[in-house]
Subunit: 210 residues, 2 copies
């Protein structure tokens, strides 16, 4: 899902001007956005990567969203609660900022590319929403076994096959499911012993139930 899909290069350049676009470079650990600024903007990671993090009342940092090249963030979210949200560059990165009000209230030209842009943006946000619902579904499963099986079934459904490939390593999966890594490994072992799954080489898993 690309924010610029179905938009020609010429239209794009014109539109970026129209939306008061500014490209800014950040060093590693640079603060791309924090709750203190409260401008409504849309940001696009042109190169590099960044994390959207929440700093909670105890000072703990939690990664809410990982942003990679081409990904989009919406600053509107920042003013919602008194939550301290920040976006931090993980490496040397370039970000394109667009003004929210110029996205919503388009210029007089009524260019169709602008509609396409809003369509893309809306679909990106909806897809984020959907990812969240999925994760919530997994997190609300009672046992690690259930979390794993539901996750595997998501993948199997997506790939339309009993043979699935994990898109992340076990350490990351444990974090995603919010369980202890060693406990996850143990449960995987039990699942193998019970012949519910078979782990093939590398990161491939075969589901015996579907």
């Amino acid at each position: 899902m690309d924010i610029f899909s179905n938009i020609t290069k010429e239209d794009l350049e014109r539109m970026i001007k129209c939306m008061n676009g500014r490209r800014i470079k950040y060093k590693k650990n640079g603060i791309i956005l924090s709750s203190f600024q409260n401008t409504d903007i849309i940001g696009i990671i042109c190169s590099g990567s960044a994390d959207l993090i929440r700093i909670d009342y105890n000072g703990n940092k939690a990664v809410i969203e990982s942003l990679k090249e081409g990904n989009v963030f919406e600053s509107n979210m920042f003013n919602m609660d008194n939550n301290e949200l920040s976006i931090i560059a993980l490496e040397q990165s370039e970000v394109l900022f667009l003004e929210y009000k110029n996205i919503i209230n388009r210029c007089g030209n009524n260019c169709s590319c602008h509609n396409q842009f809003i369509d893309n943006l809306f679909k990106i946000v909806i897809s984020k929403l959907n990812n969240n619902y999925k994760r919530i579904h997994l997190l609300t499963q009672k046992t690690i076994r259930e979390k794993l099986l539901e996750y595997f079934k998501f993948l199997a459904n997506q790939e339309n096959s009993k043979r699935i490939r994990l898109p992340m390593n076990y350490t990351a999966l444990a974090e995603y499911l919010s369980v202890d890594r060693s406990a996850l490994m143990r449960e995987l072992k039990y699942l193998k012993e019970d012949r519910v799954i078979a782990v093939l080489d590398n990161r491939y898993i075969l589901l015996n139930t579907f």
Copy 2:
């Protein structure tokens, strides 16, 4: 957050026509939308209430979102995965359907109310996203105690007071945090014993830490 805020009644009526609006009444348990239909629409609950539910591979129903009067749902989400999502009326309800394509590609009139509508819609979706991130933050806490305290701190921050009012009952809270209700009650008791919180009459709680 109202989808029609800052839009006059006259503009509204015009716009609804423009977006091919259709009002449909449903009986209790009526299917407002299911994954099988794949039209891109925005739905608004005019009266009554409904649940957005996921039916998983075992046939278990999980409520993803509770929709009340004035709330909005986006059917775009339905075509994302092979997930079986449905919206079911919980009581006699009326729903206004608007065509997504007519929302994005506006009519020639270039009316400002249309921009306002897109602004409202976008902010609603962003606020849903934000609610999800909050819930994920709570669900990823390791212990019931941490879940409760983070939840209380959200509320205290929102109300800017150590004295908070729970917006739901304990049964609903246990479900929201995905923990056993009796275990939640037990943890509340421990929190009281440890003087971390004090439970006032009804549903008011006083936080001793902040």
